[in-house]
Amino acid sequence: MDKTITFKIDGVDVKGFPGQTIMEAADAAGVYIPRLCYLKDLTPHGSCRVCTIKVDGRAQAACTQPIAEGVEVENNTAELNEKRRDIIDMFFVEGNHFCMFCEKSGNCELQAMAYRLGICAPKYPFQFPDCSLDATHPDLFIDRNRCILCGRCVNASKVIDEKSVFEFVGRGAAKKIAVNADTLAGTNMAVSDKAAGVCPVGAIIKKRVGFEVPVGKRLYDTEPIGSDIEAKQ
């Protein structure tokens, strides 16, 4: 950890250490790169593509791209933010997201990212997929209408909880999250598992606590998502 790597994000010097990703170095420096699937302490999934940046002109995912000496990274540019808005729009139309009656509203990273990027209404046609709900577990439920396939629950359950409760099935637009039994109640999932608390949206919800914090006092109700990272600057 003795060697420092210096590179630029949007023209400003950022320092990091060998082995760090651009996301990690940017976070430490107080530079916010929009993201959805990435969560600190989990294996970067690189699937949402919201953190797409350009490294010396080449598009990469900031969450998986290692830092390198002297590279020039573009992050907060009109072109990239437009692409990020497109991707967020895709999430909204590929699932069924009704923020107004979702218990995650205000704590939802997808909703918060849409606000931060200035999305008022999706520009793509809604796909209205037919998704299933699993409320069999005594303490948790899964609502696949809201799942954004970020893989956080898969990774947390496999690596941190060492249970492998979740995995993806199907491919393409038919890809969805599955559990290691006929229903969630049939698995060894516990509400205290790491996997129960990592969902960025309202796809995995803890029962009976959804409205403990009232709307208006939730995580992203007053400050945009990413403010905590930008406050480090």
Binding site: P44, G46, S47, C48, R49, V50, T52, A59, A61, T64, Q65, P66, E82, K83, D86, I87, M90, F91, V93, E94, Y124, P125, Q127, I148, L149, S164, V165, F166, E167, F168, V169, G170, R171, G172, A173, A174, K175, A178, V179, N180, A181, D182
Partner: protein, 603 residues
């Protein structure tokens, strides 16, 4: 039943050493024997391999040749690639469906026969074609389809449907297929007369790094289409740290319209193995894997026999060609119907018994590939070229072709032409010359490099095939003036939607949205602003997608807008009432009118 299932599964697992990484072979064997990999089967597999059931389900649900629900004892897969449709695949499908009394996508009530569509099966030169279990039936007509459907109904086995074998090794006892090679133009590298094994014999007289230098000097680049310099790839893999290294051959050609590897596997398999052994020698690997697409399963027994013959004569195994310490063996990994597995990191995932998801890069396969070991993945044609380069020399090879694209390129030419088949050209061949050779008349458009390449029109027919102008992995599809460009674009988008792995958002959903819009335009609901909508969406999918599939899947849209703009302009019109063409005011008012119990006064 359950006991029988359990025994079948235990045998399948044991024959793969209960190795989790061999899951593809295990589930493929079970699918073949039982017609499905049911949840019950997955439970048993999971226990045998010490994994979770959902891990098995994840893999089975990914590949289109594997299924949780029971398929018929006979599965008819009708190729619905664009070329097959041009040649009448839809009529053939209709006949199968009517004669068998089942819809496409269904299984007969008695469990005897399933009927489904499948993307390009590598037989575009003899379309329309179908796969019946592993048996390929080519050049179908409505009458032939009817007679085959009746035969199958009467219990004729798929193997007995082949009446006359094709040329060359298609007639081999272990192949016995009606597939024809259709080798029309032989070039100086792959299809030229040669002294077999001369390349390998020469390589082992040199040091591995000298062989790599020679390959670098030949300037040969990857034949899969991306064109990465092979010598450099091998140098990286050789230099990477790792006790175990792998040489992987990508024989998963799935780009619609390509079939060259089918012919190379059938006729030039020894040359391929020779190239792979040279690769093993160069990078310091004793293990090779050939990833054979599931559609070419009819070649597997033949190829395995060839491998064992090579072993018998000391061209594989220990101390190859009598060279002490040079050990190299090859195994065949069969795929199960997933275009994405032609992407090298997805191919590696599949070899490891996982979903065919591409891997995160870096690390690149040269550093961490198969089972996290340094791995080189090369195309069938690349390995064959290497064998010839070693037999001759670098200067001989680099004199062929153009400055930036040395050697020859094998093209799979199909579509509207009288001589579809395999053509080996020196790099630098002009499109117009190629069209002339293929007997193409009245050509309106040519798809260079398949749908992930470019759709070009007449003004580009003087351009040449090479990495710096029109790059291609080998697929060339010709369309005459009767063809509807927008229908072609739509078909290819359907292909990408079907074949996207779904890992990343822009490819998973962006391609669906592109298809939605093209369909709208075809329905006459397009407006001029759709061009910008399509271009912006294409750009997002291309720039932000995680792998080559999404980075190229918008190409049919982009290149058709660029080269056939008039096709779009003809159908994109402003609505006279000023509303969006997609908005139907009358239909939108229906619900409100029903509630009110009266018709709208204004509309």
């Amino acid at each position: 039943m359950s006991q029988k299932l359990s025994r079948i599964i235990k045998n399948a697992c044991e024959s793969c050493g209960n190795d989790r990484n061999r899951l593809m072979d295990i589930v493929t064997a079970i699918q073949k024997e039982c017609g499905a990999v049911t949840l019950e089967a997955m439970d048993i597999i999971a226990k045998e391999l010490n994994v979770q059931r959902v891990d098995v389900e994840s893999v089975v649900s990914f590949y289109s040749f594997l299924s949780k629900e029971e398929k018929g004892k006979v599965v008819i897969r009708i190729c619905n690639d664009v070329v097959d449709i041009l040649k009448g695949a839809e009529d053939v499908a209709k006949v199968f469906s009517e004669t068998l009394g089942i819809e496409i996508g269904q299984t007969a009530a008695d469990g005897s026969i399933s009927l489904e569509y499948t993307p390009c099966i590598g037989l575009s030169d003899q379309a329309p074609a179908v796969l019946i279990n592993d048996v390929a039936i080519t050049n179908l007509t409505v009458d032939k389809a009817k007679s085959i459907a009746n035969d199958l109904k009467n219990g004729v086995l798929p193997e007995s449907l082949t009446k006359e074998c094709g040329d060359g090794n298609n007639a081999n006892d272990l192949v016995k297929s009606m597939v024809k090679n259709n080798i029309i133009k032989k070039g100086s590298v792959i299809f030229a007369e040669r002294q077999s094994e001369a390349g390998l014999e020469k390589a082992i007289t040199m040091s591995p790094s000298d062989v790599i230098s020679l390959i670098k000097a030949s300037k040969v680049r990857g034949r899969g289409g991306a064109g990465f310099p092979t010598g450099m790839k091998w140098e990286f893999t050789r230099a990477a740290k790792g006790d175990k290294k792998y040489v992987v051959c990508n024989a998963d050609e799935g780009e619609p319209g390509t079939f060259k590897d089918r012919v190379l596997l059938t006729e030039k398999f020894d040359m391929l193995c020779e190239g792979m052994a040279i690769g093993g020698y160069c990078i310091g690997s004793d293990s090779g894997i050939i990833y054979l697409r599931g559609e070419y399963a009819y070649l597997k027994a033949f190829l395995e026999k060839k491998l064992s013959q090579r072993k018998e004569v000391g061209l594989l195994g220990a101390n190859i060609c009598g060279k002490d310490g040079f050990n190299f063996d090859i195994r065949i990994q069969i795929g199960a119907g997933a275009y994405i597995c032609g992407e090298e990191t997805a191919l590696i995932s599949s070899c490891e018994g996982l979903r065919g998801d591409p891997k995160t890069r870096p690390p690149f396969p040269a550093q961490k590939g198969y089972l996290a070991s340094p791995t080189t993945v090369n195309n069938v044609e690349t390995f064959c070229s290497i064998a010839k380069i070693l037999e001759k020399d670098a200067a001989w090879y680099s004199a062929i072709g153009t400055k930036g694209s040395t050697g020859t390129k094998i093209l799979s030419i199909s579509g509207d032409c009288s001589n579809p088949g395999i053509y080996e050209y020196d790099f630098g061949v002009k499109v117009s010359d190629m069209l002339k050779d293929a007997g193409a008349e009245d050509t309106k458009a040519v798809l260079i490099g398949g749908p992930s390449g470019q759709l070009i029109g007449k003004t580009d027919f003087n351009r040449i095939i090479c990495y710096d102008d029109l790059a291609t992995g080998g697929s060339i599809v010709i369309f005459n003036s009767y063809r509807n460009i927008l229908e072609i674009v739509k078909s290819y988008l359907e292909f990408f939607v079907e074949e996207s792995c779904g890992y990343c958002t822009p490819c998973r959903t962006g391609n669906v949205l592109l298809l939605n819009k093209i369909e709208e335009i075809l329905e006459g609901k397009g407006e001029p602003s759709d061009i910008k909508y399509l271009e912006d969406l294409c750009s997002t999918v291309k720039v932000t997608s995680r792998c080559g599939l999404g980075q190229t899947s918008p190409n049919p849209v982009l290149t058709s807008i660029k080269n056939f703009r008039e096709v779009y302009d003809a159908v994109l019109k402003l609505n006279e009432d000023g509303r969006q063409p997609t908005f139907d005011i009358k239909a939108s008012l229906e619900v409100a009118e029903a509630l009110q119990g009266r018709k709208s006064v204004i509309y």
